[in-house]
């Protein structure tokens, strides 16, 4: 067993950390208050090759693998979940499925500019009547000559209003449902019949935009089917396997930041004549937090190893997402408690991080759905055994 991280990935980590400290930290307060998309930083990240980390060099990526990507997301997670969310939706849910399922033409046309960060990606599954129940989607795609005609509405789509390339889940055969009736299509911004609807005002991750996408007789060329017709569910499940892992890596970063801030604050805050660190009540909180961060990080790195060595990791990535988002929310709550009134003030990052953390238990499948996935995988293993 070798737990060491290669020198290039250590340098990548250091670089992303410096980038976060120098470029992200100074803008987050404003970004959060105004609900402003961090456009400049996303451009800078593109220049640094951070928008295509796991994608192979051949297709415009950095070839840093899942581990390199997750290390970067972990560092970004320490300072800003808005940046992390924008990057995650783009990379895990748009670039990676195209790399896994795209044709050579699709890769050249879409993946290369996406991985270089010249274009931004999004992934559109959720609809008003289909949240956790993904198979209940109603957006239809009807074949007409060389085109598919899309009709329907997607909601709460990360990057929707900014994206140049959107992966859209549609129903091509209602009768077949999840088993052969759902098809994934690559839709370009500016396609006639595609428009952006309401932009949501949110509790947290206010720098990432979340919007509605409306398809009204939207004509998408048939070459844009991603994967096979009817195999849309597989595309989305495989995409989410990756998304959940990177999401979990971001949570590990966030929880680590809570731990670091709590230790520093506890050592410096004097009450009753001594640093509050000397109170066992505080030490226990920090000991628990440190243990959970350690556990979550090791889970994530192990699951990355499973993926990188070509093993199954669906169950493990769901476990990582579940556990890491839970411990992040616990860690930020504890960190806020340790910071007392200071933690509640908008002047300090804890307050924002508290609001930013909460979404991690909801998107890319709620944590209840992760348990469902884990249990399903266990049943499957039992059947196989």
């Amino acid at each position: 067993m070798d737990y060491s991280i290669s020198k290039e990935l250590e340098l990548l980590r250091k670089t992303v950390r410096e980038f976060c400290e120098n470029e992200v930290v100074p803008v987050v307060e404003d970004m959060d208050r105004e609900g402003k998309f961090p456009e400049e930083n996303i451009k800078k990240m593109a220049k640094l090759g951070l928008m295509g980390l796991p994608i192979s060099k051949e297709y415009g990526g950095a070839g840093a693998g899942m581990l390199g990507y997750c290390i970067a997301v972990e560092e970004i997670g320490k300072v800003c979940n808005s940046h992390g969310t924008i990057l995650g939706a783009h990379t895990s849910l748009c670039c990676m499925p195209i790399e896994m399922f795209g044709t050579e033409e699709q890769k050249q046309k879409y993946l290369v500019p996406l991985a270089r960060g010249e274009k931004l990606g999004a992934f559109a599954l959720t609809e008003p009547n289909a949240g956790s129940d993904a198979a209940a989607i109603e957006t239809t795609a009807v074949r007409e000559g060389d085109y598919y005609i899309l009709n329907g509405t997607k909601i709460w789509i990360t990057n929707a209003d900014r994206a140049d390339v959107i992966i859209v889940l549609t129903v091509t055969d209602k009768a077949l449902g999840a088993r052969g009736g759902i098809t994934t299509l690559i839709v370009e911004k500016g396609t006639p019949g595609l428009s952006v609807g309401t932009l949501e005002d949110k509790m947290g991750i206010r720098g990432s935009s979340t919007a509605e996408l409306i398809f009204e007789n939207c004509r998408v060329p048939k070459e844009n089917v991603l994967g096979d017709v009817g195999a849309g569910f597989i595309v989305f499940m495989k995409g989410l396997d990756c998304g959940r892992l990177s999401l979990a890596a971001g949570c590990v970063g966030g929880a680590q930041a809570c731990l670091d801030a709590s230790i520093k604050f506890a050592m410096n805050r004097i009450q009753f004549g001594k640093p509050i660190w000397e109170k066992q009540a505080i030490q226990w909180m920090i000991a628990d937090m440190a243990t959970e961060v350690y556990a979550a990080r090791n889970m994530v790195y192990h699951a990355i190893w499973l993926k990188e060595t070509g093993k199954r990791f669906t169950k493990e990535s769901a476990m990582c997402k579940l556990f890491a988002s839970e411990i992040l929310c616990k860690a930020i709550d504890t960190a806020l408690q340790i910071h007392g009134g200071m933690g509640y003030m908008k002047k300090f990052p804890i307050e924002r991080m508290y609001r930013d953390a909460r979404i991690t238990r909801i998107y890319e499948g709620t944590n209840e759905i992760q348990k469902l996935v884990i249990a399903n995988m266990i049943s499957r293993e039992m059947r196989r055994a």
Partner: protein, 261 residues
């Protein structure tokens, strides 16, 4: 054009601690970094290369671990990296360092500009650049905050405490660059992967250089460190709060009493 950039790997002094007993730096477990102003020197070379094209060669003398600093320089965009490493180079003072680096520069051959950092954050002498220029017998401009190439010369602004001086020098020349000169770029993820997976760091030992053994390493260093100690923290400052005129008088008398004026 060909640019040579000298980089030194140094302990990140923001996290360095001193062993109270021996007075020495505790180097174990301290992260190492490229000397900050050497990154400014590299950035200066990178932006000149963007304008005039050419090749950037980074060299460092140090232990095998200095490979990391050179890889980072490659990741930022340097084309070629050379590590001077040999037990025989160890313990060098600034003169032996400059001599060894100079021998490597001679082996490289033709060049237009050598860029050094102004000063290393550990050794802190700011001597290596000027000594290297002397050794190679090329013009030098130190403490440079702005530079450009015009025709066949380099034009640079030297940042002194009380003034800025504009200098011109014929090429080849050596410049030492300050942190005011630019904001070093981040290495890109592409650059990082290439630096480790595609590019190479050449290792040059003593035997690869035409070098006088008596002038390198500890043996070749005329400086000997007599004692290392942490200076006592200075006493508390005093604030004189009288009316300006009286304050000035009190201050004047104190300074005179101490023979400062």
């Amino acid at each position: 054009m060909r640019f040579i950039v000298c980089i030194k790997q140094v302990p990140d002094t923001t996290s360095v601690k001193i062993d109270k007993r021996t007075g020495r730096l505790i180097r174990e477990g301290i992260p190492t970094i490229i000397n900050p102003e050497d990154k400014n020197a590299l950035e200066a070379a990178l932006s000149l290369k963007e304008k005039y094209e050419g090749e950037i060669i980074v060299i460092s003398m140090g232990p095998p671990q200095a490979d990391e600093a050179l890889r980072e320089a490659l990741a930022m965009g340097a084309d070629r990296a050379i590590l001077l490493t040999d037990r025989a180079f160890a313990g060098a003072d600034t003169m032996a360092t400059a001599y060894s680096l100079g021998s490597a520069v001679k082996k490289i051959g033709e060049y237009d500009l050598i860029l050094c950092g102004r000063q290393a954050i550990d050794g802190d002498t700011a001597q290596v650049g000027p000594q290297l220029a002397e050794f190679l017998k090329v013009p030098q401009i130190t403490y440079v905050s702005e530079l450009n190439i015009e025709e066949n010369k380099v034009v640079a602004i030297q940042e002194l405490e009380d003034k800025r001086v504009r200098w011109e020098a014929s090429l080849p020349a050596l410049l030492t660059i300050t942190s005011e000169a630019n904001k070093p770029r981040y290495p890109s993820a592409y650059g990082i992967m290439d630096a480790y997976r595609e590019k190479e760091v050449e290792t040059w030992e003593k035997k690869h250089l035409d070098i006088d053994e008596e002038r390198i390493g500890l043996e070749g260093s005329p400086t000997s460190v007599k004692r290392i100690f942490s200076p006592e923290p200075k006493g508390k400052g005093e604030i004189i709060k009288e009316e300006p005129k009286e304050s000035a008088e009190i201050l004047f008398n104190r300074l005179r009493a101490k023979n400062i004026i």
